[in-house]
Amino acid sequence: MKKISSRLAAGAAGLLLLAATTRSVPNQYGFVTGTPVIRSINALTFGPDGVLFIGDGRSASVFAVDTKDATANEKANPVEIKNIDQKIAALLGTDVANVTIQDIAVNPVSKNVYCAVQHSDGTPVLLKIEGDKMTAVSLKEVPFSTVALTNVATEDAKDRRGESLRIASISDIGFADGKLLVSGLSNQEFGSTFRSIPFPFTNVQDQSSLEIYHAAHAKYETMAPIKTFTTTEIKGKKYLLASYTCTPLVLFPMDELKAGKHVKGRTVAEMGSGNSPIDMVMLKKGNESFLLMANTSRPVFKVKYKTLEDYQGSLTTPVAENFATAGVDFVSLPLTNVLQLDKLDDSRMVVLQRRSNGNLDLWTSSDRYL
């Protein structure tokens, strides 16, 4: 970082003056211009006006970055990049084995796809995909703000010594109703902590622990971390729709997710054990909405929103048969080994899929899956 600053210092004095001016006048989101120290990119999601949230588990922080990519695109072109891992490896000048795609997110305004990549040496890289073109997104001298994921217990300790050995892992982030939502796990308490952080960032963040009845486990289970989530509205009420390892699908009323609160969710589906959910999105075809969910050991599931809305039950008894399912009905799509997915527009999604021939392709689904 020092090197970069010195290089910038050698630049034109006029520019420096401009940069200093920018720094002193935060914009509407409280951004300042500078170079965020991002140590890892575990999860991505977009907020308003092309603001990209970057979940950095290694720093136990989330960064909000102005991508300045906010030109509305009403008619998104499908994205298709075959062998994307090989192309990323070449762009980074390394071998495919050294490249891991951590997350993808579609900018809902410009419809450009952003892709978080981690090099095996630990360097995080952010790429932007427009059509079949892939470019690196510079995170130097960008308008940004940051929020640390605080831990209440640790804050109580007044004599913290140096860097905490606490290790956080961010499993998913989302943005809804002006709030950044973060699910994660630390290397200490095995707990399901869910944070709701108002944006623009302030000192406020609500941390609640979520309890679910996991029918595959036959007991109330407070200890499972959410793997992926989205938000939805059912009969005028807003809900967090979350999924966990062994694949229960659970609804939590958003207005109950408050600081320090312990909230019990309503399990509406058991989608089979021996599996972990990866990503979920809501899509629309005509007047019908659908939940699409990618999985580690099962194909992509499709749930009709109407079925979800109509389901009044709460699963409280164990699923008798191993790997069996219960609750809300769903369809297994002929789409396997999907590693990432995000919504491109109302009826299409961008899919990162390991094909049966071993290729890793990024492509855009049509509404035929709905």
Binding site: A90, L91, G93, T94, N98, S186
Partner: protein, 355 residues
């Protein structure tokens, strides 16, 4: 950071036999940039450097992403991620290969080491929850499923023992990894527990094996494989109880350590941050050291102890090796009455250092 003069292989476009004078910039063991001298490139407009000069992994058509900068020594290229050790790169000028450059591989004996596995004891409870691995330098992530194995006494590899977490739980510099034994298998009566049983069986012997093939961040593999042999003892179904700890007090006007003996091994990493010493409401500066088999912790103050009253503050989230903390059991029986708590996140033990 330092630079090495490097001579790359001249291709046809380069005058034969001439030293190219290309330099590689290093940050530790990472090659973070190269500088191509002006005489190789010729006159180039600063705005069009990236169009005229590109660096590609040998055999690839896609130019590497990175920053170009005109310096007094030539054009400097800093790739988005450091060059890969042991790989060759081609420098292209005006769409023609100018020369090839090799980034030297690491020395054959330049390897990372596994420094420790926690818990340290060779007898572990049947409901062991976490294992920590500490390495000598940053490792490659998302590899534990491939390189860590638990073997039973017959040498069979046991499946679905560790929780598959992505991303894995590494510390900031990727020298310490936390692996959870699948909590669903440890908690009694949960479906994975019923279907697969607990990962560890009372009285059995196991081998925790870390393969030497695990690569570090630079691609070098571990110097050797490591095997930790252990035997499994009874489930630990009791919370750690500070009332049963033994405190050895130091003498005033010395920097002798305050020593705590727990009577049972506790969780290594929670021990590093949940114990504190206070005097008159202020934290006493000093360092904690965890003793053998995580049975003991000692606190050595920076300044000498003065006679008087102190408080040892123990955060309630301190756990034993089975995830039982001071307030609750990891696998508690919901039908049994729970120990009442005072709502605090810590408890204090008062001790006096006398004359």
């Amino acid at each position: 950071m330092y630079s090495l003069i490097f001579f790359c292989t001249c291709l046809s476009a380069c005058r034969s036999g001439e030293e190219t004078g290309i330099t590689i910039s290093w940050n530790g063991k990472r090659a973070i940039g190269i500088t191509v001298p002006d005489r190789l490139v010729g006159e180039v407009n600063a705005d069009s450097i990236a169009q005229l000069l590109t660096i590609r992994l040998a055999g690839q058509e896609i130019a590497m992403a990175g920053d170009y900068q005109q310096t007094h020594r030539g054009i400097r290229f800093e790739p988005l991620v450091p060059f890969t050790r042991g790989r060759r790169y081609t420098i292209w000028l005006r769409n023609r290969p100018l020369c090839e450059l090799a980034i030297p591989a690491l020395e054959a004996d330049d390897k990372p080491r596994l420094l420790a596995i926690y818990p340290s004891p060779d007898t572990l409870p049947a409901n062991l929850l976490k294992v920590y691995f500490r390495f000598s330098r940053p490792m490659r992530e998302s590899q534990s499923a491939r390189y860590v194995a638990l073997l039973n006494a017959n040498g069979d590899t046991l499946r679905d023992v560790f929780l598959d977490l992505q991303p894995e739980l590494w510390n900031a510099d990727r020298t310490m990894l936390t692996l959870w034994l699948d909590p669903g298998r440890i908690k009694r009566d949960l479906q994975p527990n019923k279907r697969l049983g607990a990962p560890l069986q009372l009285g059995d012997h196991y081998q925790l094996v870390v393969s030497a093939n695990w690569p570090d961040a630079l691609g070098a593999t571990l110097a050797s494989s490591t095997t930790k042999l252990f035997r499994v003892s009874q489930r630990d179904s009791l919370s750690p109880d500070p009332d049963r700890w033994t405190i050895h007090l130091p003498k005033p006007e010395t920097t002798q350590p305050l020593s705590l003996a727990f009577g049972e091994p506790l969780d290594y990493y929670l021990l590093t941050e949940t114990l504190h010493v206070f005097s008159d409401g202020a934290a006493v500066p000093g360092t904690w050291q965890i003793g053998r088999n995580e049975l003991v912790s000692t606190f050595t103050p920076t300044a000498r102890w003065t006679a008087g009253q102190y408080r040892l503050r123990i955060e309630n989230r301190l756990e034993d090796r089975s995830g039982n903390n001071l307030n609750r059991l990891f696998d508690r029986d919901l039908t049994k009455t729970q120990r009442p708590t005072d709502g605090k996140s810590y408890r204090d033990v008062v001790f006096t250092i006398g004359n």
